[in-house]
């Protein structure tokens, strides 16, 4: 019995040090148990749909995670998606401005970056708490989306744009390719560049970072700008998946993304967290909504998906608590 306990506690310690393993365990358990009930879950088309669904969330989560790493938060991404999708539609649709697709796409990323920069300037230079700046931005951009769309839907999206949403490169949907590229860039940026180390440093202890000669303001500003640009990228590959762009696009995504970031093991106080953890958590959380369908619990079960999502976050939080109680050392480097 002693040996079993020892194993358990050492496993818990491993979980404490690497949240990714915990999320990965949970995900594998989910996949195995669901595919035992319904082997169709492992069907290639289903896995593809899952990745397509997770891709935009993962792209945005990469940005928001960086913001959270510096000890700030960005909850404006939902409305930002809405207004950027509206811009994309209005720019490219032939009945409105009718710009060529690449120009419209670049413009959307640019606008995203500008909005992000605005957030960043107000947080880093205006010294307004980020939750307030981005809450205000969330509200303001929701109105902005309606203004851009003028109370109508954009329906005639050009084929070139639709291709970005529905096309494939070598059998892989474009949005998944883009998501993989973004994830790779973020990983390299955070783990292999001085900028990445500075982001962690700012989040761990920003006074020490100042003493070490890091320009904290510029780092924070950059993370917001990066997030804004990534929201633009996510919109370009996800909005044209539907043939209609309406003002409801992206609403509620901000909470989904924060959920992914937190379940993925990024400390809300900053300084701790990995891209791998966030991406795994994103996959896990996207999976939940489809799992209920595949368990064949009937139509009624789909109404429970939000409850299960909430339980997963609570589970992650409680797991962290258990881990911290069982191992005297603070996991993952502490705050």
């Amino acid at each position: 019995m002693n040996g079993g306990e020892g194993k358990l506690s050492s496993y818990l310690k491993l979980l404490g040090r690497h949240r990714t393993y915990g999320v990965l365990t949970l995900m594998l358990l989910t996949v195995v148990s669901v595919s035992l009930v319904n082997p169709q879950f492992l069907d290639l088309t289903n896995l593809r749909d899952l990745l397509v669904q997770a891709a935009p969330v993962a792209i945005i989560a990469c940005g928001v995670m960086m913001v959270v790493l510096t000890g700030e938060i960005d909850i404006s991404v939902g409305s930002m998606m809405g207004i950027l999708a509206a811009c994309l539609g209005v720019f490219s649709s032939s009945s409105d401005l009718g710009w060529p697709v690449p120009v419209a796409a670049l413009a959307v990323v640019g606008i995203g970056a500008v909005i992000g920069l605005l957030n960043g300037i107000m947080v880093a230079y205006g010294k307004v708490p980020s939750i307030i700046v981005t809450l205000g931005m969330l509200t303001a951009l929701k109105g902005g989306t309606e203004l851009v769309l003028g109370g109508e839907w954009v329906t005639d999206l050009p084929d070139g744009l639709r291709y970005l949403g529905t096309g494939t490169w070598g059998g892989v949907p474009i949005c998944v390719c883009v998501a993989v590229a973004v994830i790779a860039v973020t990983m390299v940026l955070l783990a292999r560049t001085p900028l990445g180390r500075r982001i962690y440093a700012v989040g761990s202890n920003d006074e020490a970072a100042v003493c070490a000669g890091i320009n904290v303001r510029r780092i924070k500003g950059f993370t917001f700008l990066f997030t804004g640009a990534l929201v633009g990228v996510a919109v370009i590959v996800s909005a044209p998946q539907l043939s209609v762009i309406d003002s409801g696009f992206g609403s509620g995504v901000e909470l989904l993304v924060v959920t992914c970031v937190v379940v993925g093991g990024v400390a809300i106080s900053g300084g701790v967290g990995t891209v791998a953890g966030v991406v795994t958590a994103t996959l896990l959380i996207t999976m939940i909504s489809t799992v209920l369908i595949f368990l064949r619990l009937g139509e009624n079960a789909t109404y429970w998906s939000r409850a299960i999502q909430g339980l997963f976050i609570l589970g992650a939080v409680l797991l962290d608590h258990v881990v911290r109680q069982s191992s005297p050392l603070p996991g993952g480097g502490g705050h």
């Binding site: 307004v128 205000g136 509200t139 109105g143 909470l255 937190v262 109404y303 939000r306 909430g310 939080v317």
Partner: protein, 313 residues
């Protein structure tokens, strides 16, 4: 070291005066008593919710789950009414469920020591999801008139919800000003470690506040259900952000330790008047959102520039 505590409230009063002056200049009809009473119908839930939210944010916490708790309460009331339980008892059951939800938040926040933002983000989804699952997102309606009165009725010149709000406000102000626990709220928000060392029951205070927040969410849900005469799981979607906006505009620091209920009331009033006037005058909802967003950011910026440099955060 006694400083003037109400700089932010002065800013708010000036802003409110500006809105009213603008209304007077552009459209004096807007300021008539009856128009104001008509327009006030859907501010009372937000006003009621802003009281516990202000107290919680003063202790450096936050409660995102109030919308979810409202859904739980509405579903309890709706389903028990549907199964033939008298409305009065159904309402009490709803309040009990809401209070228990709040107590659950409080327990997790105090026992697990995770940031309340995360805890209530999780319970927000869990409560709302449970309400959707239990009710299968179906609405329940046609409550008796004796119940809808609490949401639609008028008593002594004011809507019934307004009296409920004033009652809760009075209780909370008395709590804050007269009891030692009220004083501890600001202390816990400024430095909870120090409070623990000086023997303040921080956990008991927080547990109480989150439970109170659940209770108020229950009250707000009852008023909402009574006003609309429908109980559905999508009640109060996104209301938490509106409430937080009102509280922050009212001068409560999101980092805790600073703020007053007076400011919160002014903040709710400012948001309400601005929003209603914009809708009334230009008849466009999208402008509303933009104005509120800008108001939120600019009120904090204004506060930062106008107050004498005392607190560093």
């Amino acid at each position: 070291m006694k400083r003037f505590r109400f700089w932010h409230e002065c800013v708010l009063v000036v802003l409110i005066a500006m809105v009213i002056a603008l209304a007077q200049a552009l459209d004096p009809l807007f300021l008539k008593g009856e128009v104001q009473r008509e327009l006030s119908t859907h501010i009372w839930e937000i006003a009621i919710l802003s009281i516990p939210m202000a107290l919680i944010i003063i202790t450096a916490g936050i409660d995102l789950s109030i919308g979810g708790i409202m859904a739980m309460c509405a579903i309890t009331v709706g389903l028990s009414f549907q199964s033939g339980i008298p409305t009065g008892i159904a309402a009490v059951m709803g309040l009990i469920v809401a209070t228990l939800c709040g107590a659950f938040n409080g327990l997790v926040v105090t026992r697990v020591k995770v940031h309340p933002l995360i805890v209530t983000l999780a319970t927000m989804a869990a409560f709302r999801g449970a309400a959707e699952g239990i009710s299968q997102a179906k609405p329940v309606s046609s409550f008796p008139e004796s119940f809808t009165w609490i949401g639609q009725g008028v008593w002594m010149g004011l809507p019934v919800p307004a009296w409920v709000f004033l009652g809760l406000l009075l209780l909370s102000v008395l709590f804050l000003e007269l009891t030692p626990w009220g004083k501890y709220c600001h202390a816990v928000g400024s430095n909870d470690e120090a409070c623990r060392f000086s023997g303040v029951g921080v956990d008991r205070l927080l547990l109480g506040l989150y439970t109170f927040s659940g209770f108020c969410a229950g009250i707000a849900a009852l008023l909402f259900v009574a006003r609309r005469n429908t109980a559905k799981a999508d009640i109060g979607m996104g209301i938490e952000l509106l409430v937080i906006t009102a509280v922050v505009i009212g001068g409560v620091s999101i980092f805790g330790g600073r703020g007053h209920l007076m400011g919160t009331v002014l903040g709710v009033f400012l948001i309400h008047e601005t929003r209603e006037f914009v809708s009334w005058r230009w008849n466009r909802d999208e402008l509303n959102f933009i104005v509120i967003g800008l108001l939120l950011i600019s009120s904090v910026l204004l506060h930062r520039w106008l107050t004498p440099k005392s607190t560093s955060r």
